[in-house]
Symmetry: C2
Subunit: 184 residues, 2 copies
Amino acid sequence: MRFVSTTLGHALLGLLVRQPLTGYDLAARMRHPIGYFWTARHSQIYPELQRLASDGLVVSEVIDGPGPRPTRRYRITASGRTALRAWVTSPIDLEPSRSEFLLRVYCLWLVDPAAGSRLVNDYRAKHAARLSEYEGEHANCLPEPASGTPGFASYATLRAGISYERHVVGYCDWLLEELSAPSD
Amino acid sequence: MRFVSTTLGHALLGLLVRQPLTGYDLAARMRHPIGYFWTARHSQIYPELQRLASDGLVVSEVIDGPGPRPTRRYRITASGRTALRAWVTSPIDLEPSRSEFLLRVYCLWLVDPAAGSRLVNDYRAKHAARLSEYEGEHANCLPEPASGTPGFASYATLRAGISYERHVVGYCDWLLEELSAPSD
DNA sequence: AGGGGCATGTAAAGAGTTACATGATTCT
DNA sequence: AGAATCATGTAACTCTTTACATGCCCCT
């Protein structure tokens, strides 16, 4: 059995196991919906597809399409499916989280409360907008898909996004209150 | 005014504006407490310190210490402090979030519910452990530091960690229930 | 005729991890 | 005597972003 070495490789297999797609289609799905928890540009995707193909985890066929180069539709192979399934339940470590926003919060004491509140408010607005975007999508996918289906897995990641954005908005609200009422 | 180009540079300035530190001390603080929202190894930190020094944002003095090379204590300069303050409230974009766990959730439909539950449970346990770690620290830093102090800024990032871990644990609980009660 | 979307690639640079390398002091 | 901690650096590699490059098809 062949192992996929990169997370991106698994992301692409996770899309291809649902349906065959071109590199262009994969790049579009890496923006939406996968982009909400993993991102990649087309310049990273095309070389990765070549690696997956040379490892026998995907195969491609040339189809009609525009442009100077042949258009390829990729399909997952049986061994790609096996590798993906093995990865899904393999041991997972705590992942390092990176937030430039929290790094700024750590330095908030350097600036006056009004400027600090502006920063937090802007950040809150962006996340509140994303939250309503997610909530709109959520309303669109009722009734809840049955567990064990691809639809349910997509729904589960959307629920994660909603829960995360609520946490961010709630946290910003707490922080804004603290900044506006310094001596409580 | 000089601009710091990397997020890591701002992270280091954010530590040095609180107190002078050696590269070794900075590396320790990049594991804890900064590591909960930004990480860096010493191999990334030492070159970055040299860049900050050559831009005049920090200065170093050689102090007594072990090892084959001189031990340096770094201190932020006035222009470093100015650059850091300007960065804190500069416009911030939505940051791409990366979660291999959610990528796996997107593929959960491929594996049987028992194996899926094991994955989610393991992930939940790791985050629940981190949550109680944070809650212990929270109990340690009462009463709440006054807004506008470095202590409050540290406290505010701890609150963010607690809120985040609660979101993760709550989400895992929801998902585990869905996986165990497939036809509700 | 021009702009936007479809479609695929490579090149160069920056960010981050892992491994290599040295050597003093302190604790067990 | 050996392990852990203090302390600083470089090298090699991987991952990610930004920029360069081409050219068809469809709509207005």
